[in-house]
């Protein structure tokens, strides 16, 4: 044993000699590039400014990093390791390489800074002249954006087991606000930061995630969170946390609408630490009085269907491209793949032929995925072709490969599946009216693009139906809702949409079937009970209609329209006393509910005339 090491040590020594020759060649250029003239690299003059800026924000008590790097003693203790991590660009964690577009919060060391760390470690980590030391960094304690207007706390902590691989857990945060609020920022406090790798927040207006919980407040497992809503109302905000990130504050006019009863759902990526950990996240909401006037949207390029990666393949390429149907400003980008992702790239080719690299991540690492905001909005004219090009490595050489030995991997939502997604947050240009049209045209183009590639894409069939219905094209909308129902015959949301669309076209009879499937599939699905009540009422079946509205009202006692329609159906069934009670409730909930006002007046008149006790 010992002999073997002795031999290696000798070999290493000769390597080092050669190494020094080559590094000395670089040293002279280093001096000019960093302005070091004295030769010695010291903590106070050279290292502290870099450490304070790039390391201390996370390497301090209460933050994600395992040990503090706040002063000379902290840093000198790890001098060799810091040099190693910096040189390999493991720390600070920052995936994209610099390109022509500047990103916010870039955490990338220059080659010269890395050289400083190396020389400092090699020369015994000298402290230097106290006069050179910059002031210690000052950090905001607690909430980074100040006291939130509203804090939502997890109803039940998640207990993370000490061992195992990566873990994904979702928390639902119900909101109980009176009236609509406008959210300009969401600050995520993920709980024990040392085990949380990243976290995303989505808005769930239809409580579509709640049925995934065994008991209310439990939360649920799952890597990919998909919120489906029955109206076409995409929430195109990216609320994201990663270690060291400062919460993003939306510019004026771009706040998120929050309606009473909306849920937030927090998706967390956790890594076991060796001991049991209680994860108890909270989110802070910051409101603005200024309602949204600009509505960004998320364009999603994806090609999961093309993901069928043979075992051993180390350069499996998947692409997607999308042509902009309107002028937009690109605000942020969010590339996403799982553990086989190797190189992720997005480009934009403008109609004049110029090409921009939107993002290039040469060594993808899921652990450090992030939403990237551009320092300046990137104008992209109509006709620009956005291309996503991802390379995957399903070989043994990919350490992150979930399978050993490698296996065939397909696209999907599980951690062992693979994904090829790219989200672009864009703001259509033009006036507010043009804006609305532009949003629809873009979303329609995205849906048609996805369906053309994969008619089995349930979500996009559904979305296209919703967009067409919102544009007044009810007949074509039906076609896509029907396609969605064919793909998922029991899906409550799609069946409800199909039933609702048929109802809107005046075919209450045809609407009954899908609506009955919707309420059966999801008995706590308010819209389906409400629509089924309407369908039955328009067919003159008021007793049955009243039953459905009863169920709707039980699910949402504070919904004025459900109360009003229940009142109406009861009145038609002859129960004027009960009808009056619900109509009064409807008016109380929303004094502007004209239908309820008129029906209430009519019921009162009938009762006064002695038609009913």
């Amino acid at each position: 044993m010992k002999g073997k090491y002795a031999a290696i040590a000798t070999l290493a020594a000769s390597s080092l000699v050669m190494a020094c020759v080559s590094s000395q060649g670089q040293t002279s250029s280093l001096k000019t590039s960093t302005g070091i003239t004295g030769g010695e690299v010291t903590f106070n003059r050279d290292i502290a400014p870099v450490v304070f800026k790039y390391c201390s924000p996370c390497h301090r008590p209460g933050e994600a990093a395992p040990f503090p790097l706040l002063n000379y003693e902290d840093t000198a203790k790890f001098a060799r390791q810091i040099a190693y991590m910096a040189e390999k660009r493991i720390m600070p964690p920052w995936l994209p390489v610099p390109g022509e577009l500047k990103l916010q919060g870039e955490m990338r060391l220059t080659d010269a800074q890395i050289a400083l760390f190396k020389r400092w470690a090699e020369t015994g980590a000298p402290r230097g002249n106290p006069a050179d030391l910059p002031p210690a960094p000052v950090f905001v304690q607690g909430w980074q954006l100040g006291k939130p207007d509203l804090v939502l706390r997890a109803r039940k902590p998640y207990l993370l087991a000490p061992t195992g691989s990566d873990n994904y857990w979702n928390f639902i945060f119900p909101t109980q606000l009176a009236g609509t609020h406008w959210v300009k920022a969401v600050e995520i406090r993920p709980g024990e930061k040392r085990v949380v790798h990243h976290a995303n927040v989505l808005v769930d207006r239809m409580h579509s995630s709640r049925h995934q919980e065994k008991h209310p407040g439990d939360g649920f497992a799952g890597m990919e969170l998909r919120i489906e809503s029955e109206t076409f109302d995409p929430d195109s905000h990216l609320f994201f946390w990663k270690p060291g990130s400062i919460p993003h504050e939306e510019p004026p006019g771009m706040a998120l609408r929050l309606d009473p009863g909306d849920d937030f759902v927090l998706n967390t990526h956790l890594q076991p630490s060796g001991k049991s950990e209680e994860i108890e996240p909270s989110i802070g909401l910051y409101f603005t009085k200024q309602p949204a006037t600009k509505f960004p949207m998320l364009l999603e390029l994806q090609n999961d269907k093309a993901l069928d990666i043979p075992p051993g393949a180390s350069d499996f390429v998947v692409t997607d491209e999308f042509t902009l149907t309107t002028d937009v400003d690109l605000l942020a980008i969010y590339p996403h793949a799982h553990y086989l992702g190797k190189e992720l790239r997005a480009t934009a080719t403008k109609p004049d032929g110029t090409m921009l690299t939107l993002i290039l991540i040469p060594r993808w690492d899921l652990n450090w995925q992030a939403v990237f905001y551009y320092q300046q909005p990137v104008p992209l004219p109509k006709g620009t072709v956005v291309v996503m090009r991802y390379v995957y490595d399903n070989s043994e050489a990919n350490i992150a490969n979930p399978f050993h030995p490698p296996q065939r991997v397909l696209g999907g939502n599980k951690t062992t599946d693979e994904m090829a997604h790219l989200w672009l947050q864009v703001l259509p240009r033009g006036t507010e009216e043009e804006h609305e049209m532009a949003r629809r045209s873009l979303q329609e183009a995205v849906a048609r693009h996805d369906i053309a590639r994969d008619p089995g894409d349930f979500a996009q069939q559904y979305n296209l139906g919703a967009i067409l219905q919102a544009s007044g094209n009810a007949v074509e909308a039906l076609e896509h809702y029907r396609a969605a129902v064919r793909l998922r015959p029991q899906d409550p949301v799609a069946n409800n949409a199909l039933g609702g669309a048929l109802l809107a076209l005046g075919d209450a009879n045809a609407a009954l079937g899908p609506l009955r499937i919707a309420v059966k599939s999801q008995p706590d699905y308010f819209p389906a009970h409400y629509n089924l009540g309407n369908a039955l009422a328009s067919l003159g079946q008021f007793h049955e209609a009243a039953e459905e509205f009863q169920k709707a009202v039980r699910l949402r006692p504070d919904d004025s329209m459900a109360q009003a329609n229940l009142g109406g159906a009861l009145a038609e069934s002859g129960d004027l006393l009960a009808a009056q009670r619900h109509l009064e409730m409807a008016v109380q909930l929303d004094p502007k509910n004209n239908v309820a006002q008129e029906n209430l007046a009519e019921v009162k008149r009938l009762r006064a005339n002695g038609r009913n006790p």
């Binding site: 044993m1 010992k2 040590a9 290493a12 190494a19 395992p66 390791q81 001991k275 553990y339 399978f403």
Partner: protein, 199 residues
């Protein structure tokens, strides 16, 4: 830009070169003498090599603030539990600045039931040729170093963990040693937190 670091092999060379900076003579000279400065959590001097049970000796080096060695806690506990009748396992805390209180708290948090020793002067570090935490060393009952290096290949690099390890160097080495078979497990460098350059 600089020479070493882009190619994996060279990094390993650098590591061994640092090793060579320790006086090699110590590896032998200490065989008979009690390792300097090694104490238990009550502050009493302990020599893990001075024992009469004739058991194999296993040292596992950890620190309280190293996320990689902490993630290994259940694995370390599991291997030691399996062989505790035939091998003496010690958890070694070599970082001088860690207090006894911190170490006691750490043992409790990570549910360790191993004997913990402090090695503030690196006497055991040198004898086991340890460079990072977590790292393990297996000695014969008479104090001969049979294996040192990683516990398994779970981590391939900082931040690069496999879903599950594909090797089990420490368990293999202990199994061979307690069976009095030759330990043929090749010593693979461990991935983990560098020990401070000086004790």
């Amino acid at each position: 830009m600089f020479c070493c670091g882009t190619r994996g092999n060279l990094v390993r060379f650098v590591v061994w070169a640092i090793l060579a900076a320790f006086p090699l003579g110590l590896l032998h000279a200490q065989a008979g003498a009690a390792p300097k400065g090694v104490v238990n959590l009550s502050g009493q001097a302990v020599d893990p090599f001075h024992q009469t049970s004739g058991k194999v000796i296993v040292l596992v080096f950890v620190r309280t603030d190293c996320p990689i060695s902490n993630r290994y806690a259940p694995t370390i506990q599991e291997i030691s539990g399996k062989y505790k009748d035939r091998a003496e396992f010690y958890l070694i805390y070599p970082v001088k600045s860690e207090t006894t209180e911190q170490i006691k708290q750490h043992l409790k948090e990570y549910a360790y039931s191993l004997t913990a020793l402090r090695d503030p002067d690196y006497a055991l570090v040198k004898r086991a040729q340890t460079l990072v935490t977590p790292e393990a060393a297996v000695f014969s009952a008479d104090g001969k170093l049979l294996y040192h290096g990683r516990i398994n290949d779970w981590y391939a690099e900082f931040g690069k963990a496999r879903r599950a390890p594909t090797t089990r160097e420490l368990a293999d080495a202990v199994a061979a040693a307690v069976a009095a078979k030759p330990v043929t497990t090749p010593s693979e460098p461990a991935v983990g937190c560098f020990l401070p350059d000086k004790p």
